[in-house]
């Protein structure tokens, strides 16, 4: 009884929002009261957010999970043998590694999240940290880029642009000063994977950015984090300080000739700054207005210098690709969507959280399988995939495989992999109106289709739902959506029509329309290779 037992209580902000700090305090107090010595680790979250706060205790056969644990449950749990990893309490879930929800996933980018102490560099190393960077330092920059290209890694921020091609452009650009910028302005509702990676395994992001710097010849990097994520900012800043102390950043990274300086910049409450050129303007200390492209940021980015701009999950996937080789990553997925995607289940869902699995899993598998339907217990009516600019889809589209091309063909987008679930109480005309309202509020104002179009969009939808000149106004809305799609400078105005049109197409009754017959299921889209998906999950 003399060796202290290790107890894990997440420090993730979602876990803290439902009482993890109080649970940790109560466990410490209860252990002290019973004279037991414990080692308390504040880990990231395992991503089973409906079970937060999820407490784990290290037992002889691995980590044993308990959850969701309310502060008032703690004394009872301790009395029932929590500190001996006993299995008698109703909140006992068994071995964490055996839980179906986790066991069937393929954690690649999120391999360490929830497992390690996010700020312990030795824990990071003990779980394979820096293997990717060490290998990258043995390769030529060209070979690093080739590895990333061969892996098939595409931008995880939503656009899905091949990361290797972007890196090659920056690498070949002639400039004494180049930058690596991580877009951590995760403003899309229903997405929280960037935040969880930054809070749960920040060293991985640092490692990925350092590899990118080596590949393209950059010496400075910035992580642009939204101000709504104070815990992620604090965790990253602490991890960066530790990385400097260990010689993982700064001059002579790991004893090589690489110099890479990294710092965190905090956004200031502007959704549009998640758009890459707007983010660059903001990093330069300006209003976050969108830039016209070309020139592309890879050639004229931050302060006019060649710049890699990648999302957190893109850069967070790079260490594994370098460590295990392009083939291991490319071996997962379907079609041109290679590797895994960190899907996020949110909204009205019974089992919300992180599902990292190979591309190709169906929407229905995510929502009904992992998600378990709605939290309210009512039928699922709609899901929005890919953030506020993504399509609203009915359950008749649950056969769609999560694949960039299949979703695009269905008039939707995978985006950042966020899936928000709504039950049958949702008013889809209200959601369509909100899409326009949100665009009007968050537009940077640079281009007219977005700035004015969104305001007009709200007005037109209001007239439609009020039954004023319905036919004419529906035509007008369609025309306005065309104009915004084709004429906007960036995806904000360009994609706002997607939720609007999909709501109208799939839920016409909410707009006062006669419900159309259910459109035929497009068989060309129902091509999920279940065998491959199941194989990839193993």
């Amino acid at each position: 009884m003399s060796t202290p037992v290790t107890v894990y209580v997440p420090r993730d902000s979602a876990a803290r929002s439902v009482g993890a700090d109080e649970v940790a305090e109560r466990i410490t107090a209860a252990a002290a009261a019973t004279g037991r010595e414990i080692r308390l680790v504040r880990n990231g979250s395992r991503g089973m957010l409906w079970r937060e706060p999820l407490v784990e205790v290290a037992g002889p056969d691995g980590r044993i999970a308990y959850g969701p644990v309310a502060p008032e449950d703690v004394d009872g749990l301790v009395a029932a043998g929590l500190l001996d990893a006993a299995g008698t309490h109703p909140l006992h879930l068994g071995r964490t590694a055996d839980l179906d929800w986790l066991r069937t996933q393929n954690r690649v980018t999120f391999a360490r999240v929830g497992v390690v102490d996010p700020l312990d560099p030795d824990d990071f190393l003990a779980h394979g940290g820096l293997r990717g960077l060490r290998r990258a330092l043995e390769l030529s920059p060209q070979d690093i880029v080739a590895e990333v290209t061969d892996s098939g890694l595409r931008g995880r921020g939503g656009a899905g642009f091949p990361a290797g091609i972007k890196w090659k452009t920056v690498q070949e650009a002639d400039s004494a000063l180049k930058f690596v910028c991580c877009n951590a302005d995760e403003g899309d509702s229903g997405t929280f994977a960037d935040r969880m990676l930054m809070e749960g395994d920040p060293f991985t992001l640092i490692e990925g950015m350092t590899i990118a710097a080596r590949a393209v010849g950059a010496t400075e990097g910035y992580v642009y984090v939204r101000s709504e994520y104070p815990d992620a900012v604090a965790t990253l800043r602490a991890a960066i300080a530790t990385a400097y102390g260990r010689g993982w950043l700064g001059a002579g990274v790991l004893g090589s000739d690489l110099r890479f300086d990294l710092s965190v910049r905090v956004g200031a409450g502007a959704y549009i700054c998640g758009e890459e050129t707007s983010m660059l303007e903001s990093l330069e200390g300006k209003r976050g207005t969108v830039r016209a492209k070309p020139p592309i940021p890879a050639l004229e980015g931050l302060f006019g210098k060649p710049t890699v701009v990648n999302n957190v999950l893109t850069l967070g996937s790079v260490p594994m690709i370098l460590a295990d080789g392009a083939r291991a990553f490319a071996g997962l997925g379907t079609g041109r969507s290679r590797g895994t995607q960190v899907f996020q289940l949110g909204g009205n869902v019974a089992r919300g959280g992180i599902v990292e699995t190979a591309f190709g899993v169906t929407l229905g598998d995510l929502v009904e399988g992992y998600g378990g339907g709605t939290r309210s217990g009512r039928p699922v009516r709609a899901v929005q995939v890919g953030g506020p600019l993504g399509a609203y889809l009915p359950t008749s589209r649950f056969h769609l495989p999560m694949d960039y091309e299949a979703f695009a063909a269905a008039g939707a987008m995978v985006g950042h992999g966020g899936v928000v679930v709504f039950d049958d109480t949702v008013d889809m005309a209200g959601q369509a109106r909100f899409a326009m309202e949100f665009c009007a509020a968050e537009s940077c104002g640079k281009c007219t289709p977005c700035r004015v179009g969104a305001v007009r969009g709200v007005e037109v939808i209001d007239r439609i739902t009020a039954g004023i000149d319905r036919r004419a106004n529906l035509t007008l809305l369609d025309d306005l959506c065309d104009l915004m799609t084709e004429g906007s400078l960036c995806a904000m105005g360009g994609l706002t029509p997607m939720p609007v049109r999909s709501a109208l197409e799939h839920f016409p009754a909410d707009f006062g329309e006669q419900p159309a017959a259910e459109p035929p299921t497009t068989t060309d889209l129902a091509t999920t290779d279940l065998a491959t998906t199941t194989e990839a999950r193993r």
Binding site: A14, F192, A268, G346, G347, G352, V420
Partner: protein, 164 residues
């Protein structure tokens, strides 16, 4: 309300030293404005000419940046700031009910402060708590799975009297 820098040498001096701390920073205006806001709770318009001079920008540039970003409010907030997430994932689990309840309980609209200066009510689009919503943030502290009753408790815990 704004105090001119001439009337408030402390503010001016403090702002100059904040700028000095960011001398080596590229594109320093946002980090500087964050530091000003953290120290004073808001960005007093009186700092505009000081920052313009120190950073070699026009006053219009500085004003433009301050007004572009939600975070840089120009008047002091209430003693407690409550932010309610109104984005889609929280809408799906009752954010509208919370929003209506907060505005009626406090008697203010979003963006406003109660007349006694106790509470500023703001809306926010996504706090990244989308699987454990609806989310409400009180003075920087995030709360998840907030029921209407829990919201009442959170609002009631805001100190009503100055210095309470």
């Amino acid at each position: 309300m704004a105090v001119s820098p001439e009337q408030s040498p402390d503010l001016e001096q403090r702002v100059r030293s904040i700028v000095a701390e960011h001398r080596g920073t590229r594109g320093a205006l946002l980090p500087v404005l964050h530091a000003v806001r953290e120290e004073f709770g808001h960005v007093d318009p009186a700092v505009i000419p000081v920052l313009a001079g120190e950073l070699n920008l026009s006053r219009a540039d500085v004003y433009g940046v301050i007004t572009f970003y939600e975070d840089f409010r120009q008047s002091p907030p209430g003693r407690t700031t409550v932010r309610i997430c109104r984005a889609e994932a929280c809408q799906a689990v009752g954010a509208r009910t919370l929003a209506d309840r907060a505005t009626s309980r406090l008697g203010v609209s979003f963006g406003e402060t109660t007349p006694d200066g106790a509470v500023t009510l703001d809306q926010v689009f996504c706090l990244g708590n989308c699987a454990t919503g609806p989310a409400v943030e009180v003075d920087g502290r995030l709360h998840g799975r907030v029921t209407p009753e829990r919201l009442d408790t959170l609002l009631a815990s805001a100190p009503r009297e100055a210095g309470a």
